[in-house]
Amino acid sequence: MMEPGLYHVLFISTALFFIGVFGFLTRRNLITMLMSIELVLNSVNINFIAFNKYVWPNQLDGLFFSIFVIAIAAAEAAVAIAIIINLYRSHQSIDVENAEDLKF
């Protein structure tokens, strides 16, 4: 019964990062894209905590950083959702493919 080491955690976080990126690239619904961004941010949080716990256990930079990240993510999400709502008002949809008037 071994306990998970740094690399397991990093693996998870990296996987999470790429899952998030994948979601961002593939999903058409803006809200879902936003959620996948959240996944990316959470993978970062895991990174910080893992590094803090396994590599640099004697100070708390990582923890604090992750707390700040969560806060900022919330703020970001708030603004983003406000924007998306406005987009819905003008486009009658929150599908990313309906908002492609600006190009070339």
């Binding site: 894209m33 493919e97 070339f104």
Partner: protein, 659 residues
């Protein structure tokens, strides 16, 4: 500037005030005339412009006579040799130490002789034109151009520096251009003046390169120094220029031949003669001055000026004599067939210049062998007189019947008595009938040729026969033959003003032969006693008379002998009549080769290739940017893909490859 002044003054004082100023004024007076008439003539002087210019030129002519007297009889000679005096010289443009264009005046027998000839003939022409050009709209312009020409010609003959000579060489070229094109609204005149300028310019290219070579090896442009360096066989300059060779021919020969090409162009020698007949488009007095008496002999003068150097190179002299004799014969043949009287005179001019040239070619430096040189100069002198006379006479004929064509003439001796007499004298002179001027000079030429080269002598003899034939063909068909009094409004001969020059010149043409020319002008400056062999002069005179009588037989009365003879040698006659198709050859070269084979491709290349490259670059850039617009697709997720791709690309690049 200050330097220029002081040198000039110094030169003048060194020779005594009056002479110095006299010398300077000789060319400057005509120049003054040119400037004044050119700037203010139209407004202020109008018809009086002619008088003004004539007076100026009379002064200049007097000064040059005074100079000639002084040179030949006072200070020119020291211990039996006529010195080359350079009273005035100042640096005009310094190229490199030693090599510089100096403007100056060089007095030696030939230049002084030319001074007299130029000013005298020019004066005659000025007087003549007073009547001939009366009422022309651009009368002042005409006289200002005459002034310009006279100035340039005087500058040419007085040059002390080969580049100075080149400068005035170009200037006489342009003034002849202006005067030929005087009737600017005649397309033929425009074509003629362009032709004259371009062909002489082409020849000048040779002259220029020749100068470059001479200056490079001689290390100077000054005539005296140059001649002195290149004639003393032990000087380093001479050694290098002879040793340096290109295509197996020594640089000296190259230089001289190239210089001679320049001379040939100006003197209308074969094959550069085509411009001279066309140049007859100019006013007749101009033809008399420029294209008979003075400018066209500039080539002869050039060779004579550089004669000591020429005499160092056999080949060069041979080229000179061959070209000379060819032109003499060739022109004489054509002259027999032409019907435009001025063209006949033009070809005869060319032929006579041929005489002078080969006589220079057969001459040697100094002593008895220098006869050719003296003869050439002598012939130049006499020829100037009688050829000017001929042209002026032709002018008065044309003035009378307003046509150049023989067929419109005939039987004019009653209408134009004075012209008739003077013209006859001139014809006798040019045909070498004793005791007229032409006789003596031609005798000497033939003698020189005889001593030197038999073939040349025989050809020359034949040519002199032809000369008398075509001259008298001209004479008879103008003044005798059948009369077309269709040109009836017989307003007699154009007044005294027009006759005066004819009379004066005819006196010259008759008497000039008795001048003991050799005493004054010779290759080495020593007096050359002209020996006179009676038995030798039989053949030429006989031939001359034969020619005269043939002409009389054919042309005195209207008959069909000319046609029958022309038919009997049909093809050759045609050939000569069409001037041996040289003009057509020139036309081919310029139109087909210069324009179509070089000019057009150059223009095309520039338009399409060079320009195309520039435009192509621009269009290519635009094309790329058009193709690349797809990246900006408007899809935020694609943007993300490029973003991540770029990120990963950088990571891979910098972690694994570009460390």
């Amino acid at each position: 500037m200050n330097e220029f002044l002081q040198i000039q003054l110094l030169g003048i004082f060194s020779l005594g005030m009056n002479l110095g100023w006299a010398l300077v004024m000789i060319p400057l007076l005509p120049l003054l005339g040119f400037l004044l008439l050119g700037l203010f003539g139209k407004k202020f002087l109008k018809q009086s412009a002619g008088i003004f210019a004539t007076l100026l030129l009379a002064a200049s002519a007097f000064l040059s006579l005074h100079t000639a007297y002084g040179y030949f009889f006072k200070y020119g000679k020291s211990e039996g040799i006529y010195q080359k005096i350079v009273p005035i010289q100042f640096t005009w443009l310094q190229f490199s130490p030693g090599v510089s264009i100096d403007l100056g005046i060089l007095l030696d027998p030939i230049s002084v002789m030319m001074l007299v000839v130029v000013t005298f003939i020019s004066l005659m022409v000025h007087v003549y034109s007073l009547a001939y050009m009366k009422g022309e709209e651009r009368f002042p312009t005409y006289y200002s151009f005459l002034g310009l020409f006279t100035f340039s010609m005087l500058g040419l003959v007085m040059s002390s520096n080969i580049f100075q000579l080149y400068i005035f060489w170009e200037l006489v070229g342009v003034s002849s251009f202006l005067l030929i094109g005087y009737y600017y609204d005649r397309p033929s005149a425009v074509a003629a003046c362009k032709k004259a300028f371009i062909i002489t310019r082409f020849a000048d290219l040779g002259f220029l390169i020749g100068i470059l070579i001479l200056s490079f090896y001689g290390g100077t442009l000054d005539f005296n120094t140059l001649i002195e360096k290149l004639t003393s066989t032990d000087s380093t300059e001479f050694k290098t220029i002879v040793s340096a060779s290109f295509m197996g021919i020594s640089a000296l020969t190259w230089a001289l031949v190239l210089v001679f090409i320049g001379g040939a162009g100006k003197s209308a020698l074969f094959p550069l003669h085509v411009w001279l007949p066309d140049a007859m488009e100019g006013p007749t007095p101009v033809s008399a001055l420029i294209h008979a008496a003075t400018m066209v002999v500039a080539g002869v003068f050039l060779v004579a000026r550089l004669f000591p150097v020429f005499s160092m190179s056999e080949v060069a002299l041979m080229v000179v004599s061959i070209i000379g004799i060819i032109s003499a014969l060739f022109a004489a043949l054509i002259a027999c067939t032409q019907t435009d009287i001025k063209r006949v005179l033009a070809y005869s001019t060319m032929s006579q210049i041929g005489f002078m040239m080969f006589s220079l070619g057969v001459s040697g430096q100094g002593g008895e062998s220098g006869l050719g040189f003296t003869a050439a100069m002598f012939h130049l002198f006499t020829h100037a007189l009688f050829k000017a006379l001929l042209f002026l006479g032709a002018g008065s004929v044309i003035h009378f019947i307003h046509s150049n064509e023989m067929k419109d003439m005939g039987g004019l001796r009653k209408h134009l008595p004075i012209t008739h007499i003077t013209f006859l004298i001139a014809c006798l002179a040019i045909s070498g009938v004793p005791p007229f001027a032409g006789f003596f000079s031609k005798e000497e030429i033939l003698l020189a040729a005889y001593h030197h080269n038999a073939t040349i002598y025989w050809i020359a003899l034949a040519t002199s026969g032809l000369t008398s034939f075509y001259m008298f063909r001209l004479y008879f068909s103008i003044f005798w033959n059948k009369e077309h009094i269709a040109h009836g409004e017989a307003h007699g001969e154009g007044g005294f003003v027009m006759m005066l020059p004819l009379i004066v010149l005819s006196v010259g043409a008759a008497a000039a032969g008795f001048i003991p020319f050799g005493e004054y002008v010779s290759a080495d400056g020593k007096a050359l006693e002209s020996v006179f062999h009676l038995q030798f002069s039989i053949a030429p005179v006989a031939l001359g008379l034969a020619g005269i009588f043939t002409a009389m037989w054919m042309y005195k009365k209207q008959n069909n002998r000319p046609d029958t003879i022309a038919h009997s040698m049909n093809s050759f006659y045609k050939l000569a009549y069409h001037k041996f198709y040289v003009d057509e050859l020139y036309l081919f070269v310029t139109k087909k080769i210069l324009f179509n084979l070089i000019g057009k491709p150059a223009a095309w290349f520039d338009k399409n290739v060079v320009n195309g490259l520039v435009n192509g670059t621009g269009n290519f850039t635009l094309f790329i940017s058009e193709k690349a617009k797809g990246f900006q697709s408007g899809k935020v997720q694609q943007y993300a893909i490029y973003f991540l791709a770029g990120m990963i690309g950088l990571a891979v690049l910098f972690i694994y490859i570009w460390k």
